[in-house]
Amino acid sequence: MSEKVKYFPGKEIRPEALDDGELLVTHYNADLKYSWASGVAVGRFLSELKNGRLIARKCNKCERILIPPRIFCENCFRNTDEWVYVKDTGTINTYSVAHVGTDAHRLSEPLFVAVVNIDGASELMGFLHLLGEIEEKEIKIGMKVQAVWKPENDRVGSILDIKYFKPIKN
């Protein structure tokens, strides 16, 4: 078909055409607001962050300690059983260096992002966060890191109550 077809539809627009008056442009700002109910598991996780602690849930059937905590175990499909405090240290599972932000603009300073597997939780259990007090060339998978918390008065019950994870230097 692609041999027989001579014309493929589609009119390309130059990038400047939106600004220089060649095209009529209507703007619409959609400012949608939501207040999501966190529920039992996330709610507790966030309030413990305010206390400067990380909390997980245990499923007694598969015996996994789950972080982020959840009220049901997705493997066993049953309620999880108990709250378990875990450490605020961990290991870097994978990392990256971000030069671009959410809307593709270039960041003035690169951000180090990583998935940190948390000590005390089951293998591979962890969450996404930033790395700090570290040079790009020092970052390695398997490196041990420690959470750096905001001062107590500044903590609000958000993942940002942890400023970043820094390397544990022996």
Partner: protein
Amino acid sequence: MPGRDVAIVGIGASKFDSTTIAQSYKELTFDAARKAYADSGIDVRDDVGSFICCAEDFWEGNSISDEYAPDQLGAKLRPLFTVSGDGLLGLAHAYMHIMAGVSDIVVVEAHSKLSDVESKDLVEELGYDPTFARIPGVDSKYLAGLEMRRYLEESGSSIEDCAAVVVKNSANALKNPLASYGGELSLEDVLESEEIASPLKKLDVSRPSDGSVVMVLASATRAKRLADTPIWISGISWFSDTPNVEEMDLGQAVYALNSSKKAFQMARITKPTEQFDFAEVDDTYSFKELEHIEAIGLAKRAGKFVSSGKADLDGVLPVNPSGGSIGMGYFVEASGLVRAYESVLQLRGDAGPSQLAKASKCVVQSWRGIPTQSGVTAVLQK
């Protein structure tokens, strides 16, 4: 066997309430899922080969809502997909999965967490065509007002007939332990309520509710072993008319007319006025119930039909014995599945105080809400 190929073998629902702050939507869904799986006696991790969710991003506040679907349904590392449609459309796809041999057991889920959505009207407005149909400063329900006026003009139904729907469904809801908006209203209460988009008034509009519904469907062979009373989906079809506001046959419910035709054909229904014991139809707005009654052929003059009491619980053909969306609340994409849930309770004889004496076969119908002209019709029977 035609009409007895696919059955509903398990249902589960979370609590339904105007707000459910203590639980996230995932926790509500886990609740409903657990109940549905217990009801059907299946082991979700072993027995289910397909999961279907019904959701729209803007109601969730997440782009790509199906990311967050699997865990609370037991669908981790299983086949699951999201259809951007209402719960009855989910049932239609589940029906196709079973007929196509994808799986003998299929799970369908839909939920509403409208209490999380602060900008409900803005979301509704975003459903309109950005160039032609969004009118700044005008209530997002303007299309419902336009349609109501057109319907009243074409059908001969009166504004009091529409109010009668609200009175009936609110009264029915008082008997339904799952309903949030039951009440003893009079016609005047409705007619004197605040005008939103004339002639649509505040009490003509169903009010938001939270809740999750999960259903388990099975092929004929499995259904007979899993359920004492399998509820057969003997016919199901869906239809979309134009999405363009200016071209719509307002007042006609073309989607209901056409989807019911095909569903009735499948279910061998030739006399919809006589062959159903009750009907659960969409009543997002009061006049819509009347429009739908006519479109699916339950009565020629729906206004008179409702006003004269024929659609009451003790009437000749009860419509929305559950209380409908007016009485139970509006569940966005889950509303259709709530209608189906209530229908299954009736057919099984589990509808408690609202149980009808005769409940063997019914029609369930849904509409996707403004500004769409899409909907689904299904025939359910014992």
